[in-house]
Symmetry: C2
Subunit: 514 residues, 2 copies
C-alpha cells in the first residue's frame, strides 16, 4: 500500500472511494468473469431428474428416431442401435449408457485468443449470442428490416468489446447474400473478422463444410493450428422434433466431426407444437433427442467435443406462435441445465429471448428472467442471451449492448454470497458500533472490496431524479445508440492480418468491403 | 366433457385452442396464485446459514442495541436482556433461542375480504408494493413530481385490480398533507378505500396509533371484528442501523401490538453505509437487528404476529447513493429469505426496485432480477415488488400495471416444473410420433393444460413483427397508460358503505373527495 492510498483510505468518504475506484483491477479480482459457477438454483429434485432420464431412455428404446441418413444408419447400427421396419433407429438403454461413459465431459470452446477460451464443465456459466434472426431492429425508426452481412459483422465487433458477452454464435442471417454457400462462408468471415471470441455457426448444406474448413485453416495459419485450437463450432440442428433426424444436418455434423470442429447438438422443439406442451415432457423429448445425437457423435468419433444442446422453446398456445420471454421458457432452460449436470455433460440452452419488438421494459424483464435463472441453474452455454427480439425474429445491436449490462448483474447473482469470517464482518460491526464512526462508508473493508464485490453498470442509470434532470434525462436506448456508434467508429481489432485477408479474398468471394 | 368441446378438441388447431381458452378457469386451476411455494433457489448452504446465525447471536451478545425507549428497556430486561453502562441492550444467546421458540410461525395477514388473506409460512410467496417514495413518475411528461394522497388512492385502486399484486403496503407519501397525523390517517383511508387487499402502513408518531385504530374499528364494523381479522399491518422501522433502536418507532410498535395490529419488523440497513458492505455482513446485521425486534415483540406479547423484515439495501459505493436494481440487491434479498426459513419465521424483504427513472428496459431487468430470485428463494413477503423507480424515490402507476405482468411470469417460475407420468408424456410422444399427427398442437393433453399451465401476459406483446406493424406498433408504456385510465374510470369497488364513510368523515378530516 502506498502512502497515497493509505492516506486516502484514512480520510474516508467520497474522495477515497473515487481514488479506490480509479485503480484498475487485475482480471482475477474482477467482480464477474466467464465461467463463474452456478447451480444454486435447482428446479428439479433428484427423483425428478431420474424420472426424466428414465422417460428419455424409454422414448429412445420404444420410439426411436426416424430419417437418419444412410451414413448415420451405418454408424448407429454399427454401435448397437436397431433399424426398425418403420425406418426408425431405436437405442437400447445399455448402449446409451455406454456412450454416456465415452462422451467428452470437459469441452473447451477456443477463442482465437486464449483469454477467450470457454471451459465447459460442471456448472460453469457463459453467456453469448445465437439464433437465426431474419430482421434487424432499427430502434430509432422503430422498424424491422432484413438483416445483412454488415449487420452481422457489426454484431461481432460489438460483441468483441463487451465483457459479459463471452462468445458469438451467429445471431442473424445475412439475407443480402442469395447464394447459400457464399452466405455460409461470409458468415464465418464476418464473425471472425469482428471478434476473437469463440464463434458458432451453421451450414446450410454438407458440401459447404469443406470450403469453410479451408477458410478456417487460412485464418488459423494452417490445419494443424486449427485442429489444435478450433475457434469455431458448428451449431447443428441435427433433429427435426419430434424424434426425427434432420438428414442433411446429420451429414453436416459428420463432416464437421471429421474436420475437428466441435458440435452443438441442437434440439429445438417447441413445447405444444413439436414437443409436448408440458415443461417436463418437452425436457424429456429434448433429452432423448440429444442423447440420440450423443450416441451418433460418439459412434463417429468417441470423445469428440459436443455440447448437449437441449433447447426447447415455449409456445403461446392461444396463437400457436413461438414465445421465448415467458416464465415457462425460463423453466424449460433451467430444467435442461440441471439435466446436463445429471449426466455430467457440457450443455447449452436458450435464454434471454424477448418477445417484445423493441428494447423496452418488457424486453428487460423477459431477458433477465431466463438469463438469471439459466445462470443460477449453472447452464454452461447460455445461448441467445442478448439482442434477441420478437421471439427470435429480430436482432438489435442496441439491445446487445444493453444486454452486456444486464448479464453483468446476472453474473453477479451467479457468483453468489461469499461467507467467510471477513465477509460475516462481526468484528467490523463491533468496531463501527462501539465507539466507531457509526457507519461503514470509510472502513478499510468497504474500500478494499468496492470494486471486487460490485458490478457497476456501464449504461444503466443510477442517478437521483435531480441528477437525472440535470443531465437532461438521458434516454437508455439513445445511450446505447451512441455506444454502438462509438464502437463501430473504432478500428476493428480482430481483423485478419493483410496477407491472410488477401489470401482469403483471393480464394473466396467475400461480400464485406476490405 | 360436452359434445361441443369433444368435437373441438378432435378438430385440433387454432379454433379448438381458442375455444378452450374462452372457458374461464376456476381459481384453483389458475396457473399462478398467491402463496405458491418457492425455495428451489438456495444461495446459502446449511453451514453458511449456521455461520450467519452464530454471527448474529455474537453481535447481539457482544454489541447489542442502543437507544431503546424506557418501556422497551423494561420489556427487554424483564425478559432477560442486560442494560450496559454504555446504554446498550445486550441479548444472551439462550434468551434469543427461547424467544425464537415462542414466536408466531404462521402469520396470517388478512384482507378485508377473506379471498385476499395472505398465509405466511414456509416458502409461500406473495408479491406487493411498499416504500415511501416522495415522487410520482409522470411517464408521459418524463417528469418527477411530488406524490399526493390521490396518487396513493389511485395506486390502491389499481392494485385492487391486479391479480399478481397480492397486497398494498403504502408505496408513497402523501406530500400534499402537511400535518403528520392527518397524513397517517388519510394514508390508511386512501389505501383501504381503494382495495380490500391487505394494507401495510407506518406511523410517524406513537400518538397517531390510537386514532388509526379508531378508524380501523369503524372500517371493520367494531373493535372485535378488527381484532378477529386485522387487515392493516404496521410497517415498523424499529431500528436505525447499525444496531440502534429507533426510539419512537419502538413506541409505535408497542401501541400497535396492544391494538392487535400485526407488525413488520423492518431493518433497512444500507450495505456499505449503515451495514457492512459485504452481502453476508449486511445479512448478519439485519438478522441480528430483527432478532432483537423479535425478542422485543415476544417480550411484550408472546406470539404476536410479526414479519421478520430483514431489508438490507445495496449501495453504489462509487457515489454512496442507494441502489436497488443490482445483482447484489437480489442476493441480499434471496439470502435473507433463506435465513427466514432457517428460523422457520414468516419473513419479508425488498425486491423489484428499479434504479431507472422510467419504466424502460433497465427497469425491466432490474425489477425482474430481484423479483424472480426472491420468489425462487421462497420469500413470504416480497415488498416493493412493483412500481418503484429511482432507487425508491419515485412510484409509477404504469410501472405497477406492467409489474403485474412481470410478476405473473415470476410466479410461473416459482411454481416450477411438475414431474408426473402425465407431464413426462412418453405415451403422448409415442402416440404423436408413431403414426400420429407428428405434432402436439391438437392433442387433448395440450388443449387441456393450455390455461392451467401457462401465464399469458396482459400487456406484454407477443405478436410477430408483421402483426405488430399492422397494429401500428403499440408502445408498451402507452398501453399501460390506457389501462390505468380504464381502471381509474371504473367505480371504485372497495369504497366503504356510505354510512361508514360518513362516520369516518365526521370523525376525521379526510382529504380525499367523497
Amino acid at each position: 500500500m502506498t502512502a497515497q492510498t493509505r492516506s486516502s483510505s484514512r480520510s474516508g468518504g467520497r474522495s477515497a472511494r473515487r481514488a479506490a475506484r480509479a485503480a484498475a483491477l487485475p482480471d482475477h479480482l474482477r467482480p464477474v468473469r466467464p465461467g463463474l459457477e452456478g447451480g444454486q438454483y435447482r428446479p428439479l429434485g433428484q427423483q425428478d431428474m431420474e424420472r426424466i432420464h428414465a422417460a428419455a431412455l424409454d422414448a429412445l428404446e420404444r420410439i426411436g428416431l426416424a430419417d437418419a441418413p444412410e451414413s448415420g444408419v451405418a454408424h448407429l447400427t454399427g454401435a448397437g442401435c436397431t433399424l426398425g421396419e418403420d425406418g426408425r433407429i431405436r437405442f437400447p438403454r445399455a448402449l446409451v449408457e455406454d456412450m454416456l461413459a465415452k462422451a467428452n465431459r470437459q469441452v473447451v470452446l477456443h477463442g482465437r485468443e486464449p483469454r477467450h477460451d470457454l471451459i465447459l464443465s460442471g456448472t460453469r456459466v457463459h453467456y453469448g449470442t445465437a439464433g437465426a434472426a431474419v430482421h434487424m431492429v432499427d430502434v430509432e425508426g422503430r422498424e424491422y428490416r432484413d438483416s445483412t452481412l454488415q449487420d452481422l459483422h457489426d454484431a461481432a465487433r460489438i460483441t468483441d468489446r463487451l465483457d459479459n458477452i463471452h462468445f458469438l454464435q451467429r445471431p442473424m442471417v445475412a439475407r443480402d447474400i442469395a447464394d447459400n454457400r457464399e452466405m455460409d462462408l461470409n458468415t464465418i468471415y464476418a464473425c471472425c473478422a469482428g471478434t476473437t471470441k469463440h464463434v458458432g455457426t451453421s451450414f446450410s448444406h454438407p458440401d459447404h463444410v469443406a470450403d469453410a474448413l479451408e477458410m478456417l485453416h487460412m485464418i488459423a495459419g494452417g490445419e494443424d493450428k486449427w485442429r489444435e485450437r478450433p475457434f469455431v463450432s458448428n451449431s447443428n440442428c441435427f433433429v427435426v422434433p419430434p424424434m426425427k433426424f434432420a438428414t442433411e444436418s446429420c451429414e453436416v455434423m459428420e463432416r464437421c466431426i471429421e474436420g475437428g470442429m466441435p458440435v452443438l447438438l441442437l434440439s429445438a422443439g417447441m413445447a405444444g407444437a413439436t414437443a409436448p406442451s408440458t415443461i417436463a415432457g418437452a425436457i424429456v423429448q429434448a433429452v432423448a433427442e440429444c442423447l440420440a445425437g450423443l450416441v451418433y457423435v460418439n459412434a463417429v468419433s468417441p470423445g469428440h467435443p459436443a455440447v448437449f444442446g437441449t433447447w426447447p422453446f415455449g409456445l403461446d398456445l392461444r396463437t400457436g406462435a413461438m414465445t421465448g420471454g415467458s416464465g415457462e421458457q425460463a423453466l424449460l432452460t433451467a430444467g435442461c441445465a440441471q439435466m446436463h449436470h445429471f449426466y455430467g455433460l457440457p450443455g447449452g440452452a436458450a435464454a434471454g429471448i424477448a418477445d417484445s419488438k423493441l428494447p423496452d421494459m418488457q424486453a428487460g424483464w423477459e431477458q433477465m428472467c431466463s438469463n438469471v435463472m439459466a445462470g443460477l441453474a449453472g447452464l454452461n452455454m447460455v445461448y441467445e442471451a442478448a439482442g434477441m427480439h420478437a421471439s427470435l425474429l429480430g436482432f438489435c445491436h442496441e439491445s446487445l449492448i444493453l444486454g452486456d449490462d444486464m448479464i453483468g448483474q446476472a453474473l453477479r447473482c451467479v457468483r453468489g454470497i461469499e461467507v467467510t469470517d471477513e465477509t460475516l464482518a462481526v468484528d467490523q460491526i463491533a468496531e463501527v458500533c462501539l465507539g466507531g464512526a457509526g457507519h461503514y462508508l470509510g472502513t478499510s473493508q468497504t474500500l478494499s472490496r468496492m470494486q471486487a464485490d460490485h458490478v457497476y453498470p456501464a449504461l444503466g442509470d443510477r442517478s437521483s431524479p435531480k441528477e437525472w434532470a440535470e443531465k437532461d434525462k438521458p434516454d437508455l436506448v439513445q445511450r446505447a445508440v451512441a455506444r454502438k456508434e462509438e464502437i463501430l467508429a473504432e478500428r476493428a481489432a480482430a481483423r485478419f492480418d493483410p496477407a491472410t485477408d488477401a489470401t482469403i479474398r483471393a480464394r473466396f468471394r467475400i461480400h464485406l468491403p476490405a
